[in-house]
Symmetry: C2
Subunit: 426 residues, 2 copies
């Protein structure tokens, strides 16, 4: 944990720097896996599963497994997942765009219509946390958008099973095909298609460095991906009215994600700074993942600044995935927030609300990508097609302009497509 | 030109295939150029300009050059550019999103706000056509979005000058910095920054294979790009009421772009098919770029199908950049169009209308990318940030759901961020 009091602006560039990610040279491994999957299809997936996850006979999930999952989940968890699903649905449905026909010139009508990306793939990692919440965050907007095929791949545990909450969430949110496949081979399978797994047009979801590298690699095949990936991060801005125990809890909820998680705390109050650190020391003791959280905190920055305005400026430079504004009168700072993935306003808007259930998406740009990427939304699952209808009169109104411009660009056939129409008397 | 009559569906996969692009091994060249620009900045740009474009002393454009450009352009072209700009502005302004606050659970309020990507780069190629229309298509939405820095790079001609129409359009549309730099080095400069050229967050615009490869390479530095690139293409669907001379003109206006342009013609009428081919043979004679057009036509497909419905199905499989629907009752086919960049409806909606002046954007997904990418729009120049405000009561309403889900994912600190707030009596 590094503490800075009123660092000068010269230091900001360094303080907003992310730790350099050790990009291991795994591109050969990834290329190999793609080649194996391309050649041997499902058989390659079973072989790789045996090596990395579990020995299974079938990558498909049986009806019985799904039924069993329903029985294994208690009613409280089912209700919680349903409420989260409902909120995510309501918020993402509000992102549907009305068709607006615009007459740009008399009788020249232009508009956009959204169409679902027909086939999408969702990757859900295995590992220490069964991320069924990510199933909701990706499958709910996919279903709302109208994607016809929603393919989900997730690795089986060592007994060959998938976490029942993942199965339950997948069923609830309209996943159309679900497979027990993990790692880079899952990405390869959704990119190339196998006997069982359909080829998709866009792949979503988090994963380890192999999955991330495989998603990058998949783009060479024309597949698109949700966004580039990096470790998760939060930046908390607190004034003197902030509650240190809340701030500490939010910082820890980020830190427990992994040892490479980024945590930044900016405050205008020395006592809030000191109290928050004290609270962290207390709260961390009770956490099962406290070692991971401690490692992450070792690299964190706690910074005292003069004003909230300066803190916002710092935050814009850092472009955090999550920004918590634990200040009074937070409304007045909103227009100044330029770069952030998702913003949590006031003392009771904890990051975990957005992580699970408030309705916003938790798939967000990390690693400074909030400067040029949005988080996942309904938009991520559609293309917007432009349409235009130009009547004969409309072309008369616009034709000369097109002809002059085409001529000036030296594109005679472009000009002629107008001229020939204006001449024709039909 | 290849003609197919009622090909069976088995053949469609092959007929909708793009020619395989010869991706030359230029990655070393690109890496070298990036390294040169990183090390030597402006000096590297001048040196590379001398090698590829022109010997110049300064990559900046002087006031005098801009004034001269204003004088060199005739009033008709100025007016045409202004009308096009107006239409593009009106259409793209309609894409601004209203902020909609959604109460997903009582006292849990979520919404999105758009923020401009602060620094964007536009690349405009030199070569055979001075694409000032592309300046409009990229700078107009950038300015509407509120991008603070709009940097434009374009190569000088052999005399060290920039086409006056490009200078005029850039001035008119709020480009903030304009540089005489072309090729991969322009992309490297906007990615890395030099003494003169600012580093940007997102790069837009067409270019040759070096530019395309450089844009791909730039992404490794965290820069995002508009979309992957391929040769331009049109698919025309014509019924028996279509006008063969119009169809021919549209196909030729695509074919003149370059020898690798893609042209596909689908019709339900043998006589329209034959007449269109006859018209092409006539019209092509008059084109200055007829050799290029002929080469492109050599690879084109002319296909007779039973029904317009089948033609739409074929088109969805091909996912054309431009789709012209030269049919009666085109409205009824609109809902079935799934994959296309931009659609032109009826006999008078020629592609050049959208290329220049109707208001829609002409930067569109090629090479089948219309399956998973949208064309450039106002959205391309903003990020959408989610916000949420959860009141104390709101957290009471939602808290249990968050706690149960966090617990089930094994993330105790996520749960604790809620628990600690619900317990606190402030």
């Amino acid at each position: 944990m590094k503490i800075y009091q009123y660092p000068s602006k010269d230091q900001w560039a360094e303080l907003t720097q992310r730790p350099v990610l050790q990009k291991q040279e795994i591109s050969k491994t990834i290329a190999n896996i793609f080649s194996l999957v391309e050649t041997n299809g499902d058989a390659a997936l079973l072989e790789l599963s045996k090596k990395f996850d579990a020995e299974i006979n079938n990558i498909s999930v049986s009806k019985e497994e799904i039924e069993r999952a329903y029985e294994m989940i208690n009613e409280d968890l089912k209700k919680a997942i349903q409420q989260a699903k409902e909120n995510i649905s309501v918020f993402h449905a509000s992102q549907k765009e009305e068709v607006q026909k615009i007459e740009t010139t008399k009788e020249v009508i232009c508009w956009r219509e959204s169409r679902a990306i027909e086939k999408v793939g969702i990757y859900i990692p295995g590992g220490t946390a069964p991320l069924f919440s990510t199933v909701l965050m990706l499958a709910v907007p996919a279903q709302l958008a109208g994607c016809k095929e929603i393919v989900l791949c997730t690795p089986p545990d060592k007994y060959g099973n998938i976490n029942p909450a993942i199965l339950y969430a997948a069923q609830l949110c309209g996943v159309t095909q679900l497979f027990k496949v993990g790692g880079a081979q899952a990405i390869a399978a959704m990119t190339l298609g196998t006997e069982s797994i359909p080829q998709v047009y866009k792949i979503f979801g988090p994963g380890n460095q192999y999955v991330v590298a495989a998603k990058e690699y998949a783009q060479q095949y024309g597949v698109s991906i949700d966004m580039p990936a990096g470790p998760s991060e939060v930046l908390v801005i607190a004034d003197e009215k902030a509650v240190p125990s809340f701030c500490a809890a939010d910082l820890l909820s980020q830190a427990e994600h992994g040892s490479d998680s980024q945590v930044i705390f900016l405050t205008t109050s020395l006592s809030v700074l000191n109290e928050t650190i004290r609270e962290i020391d207390e709260q961390i003791k009770l956490l099962p993942r406290n070692e991971m959280a401690q490692q992450s905190l070792n690299n964190s920055h706690f910074i005292l600044l003069d004003t909230i305005e300066k803190a916002i400026e710092f935050s814009n430079l850092y472009a955090p995935e999550h920004l918590i504004l634990a200040t009074e009168n937070f409304e007045k700072y909103i227009p100044d927030i330029q770069n952030a993935g998702s913003v949590f306003l006031g003392n009771y808007s904890c990051e975990s609300a957005g992580d699970y259930a408030s309705g916003t998406n938790h798939t967000l740009p990390t690693n400074g990508f909030a400067k040029n990427y949005s988080g996942v939304s309904l938009d991520s699952f559609v293309k917007k097609i432009t349409f235009q209808h130009v009547s004969k009169k409309g072309l008369k109104n616009l034709g000369k302009t097109i002809e002059i411009m085409a001529q000036a660009e030296g594109l005679a056939a472009h000009k002629n497509a107008v001229t020939i129409r204006l001449k024709k008397n039909i």
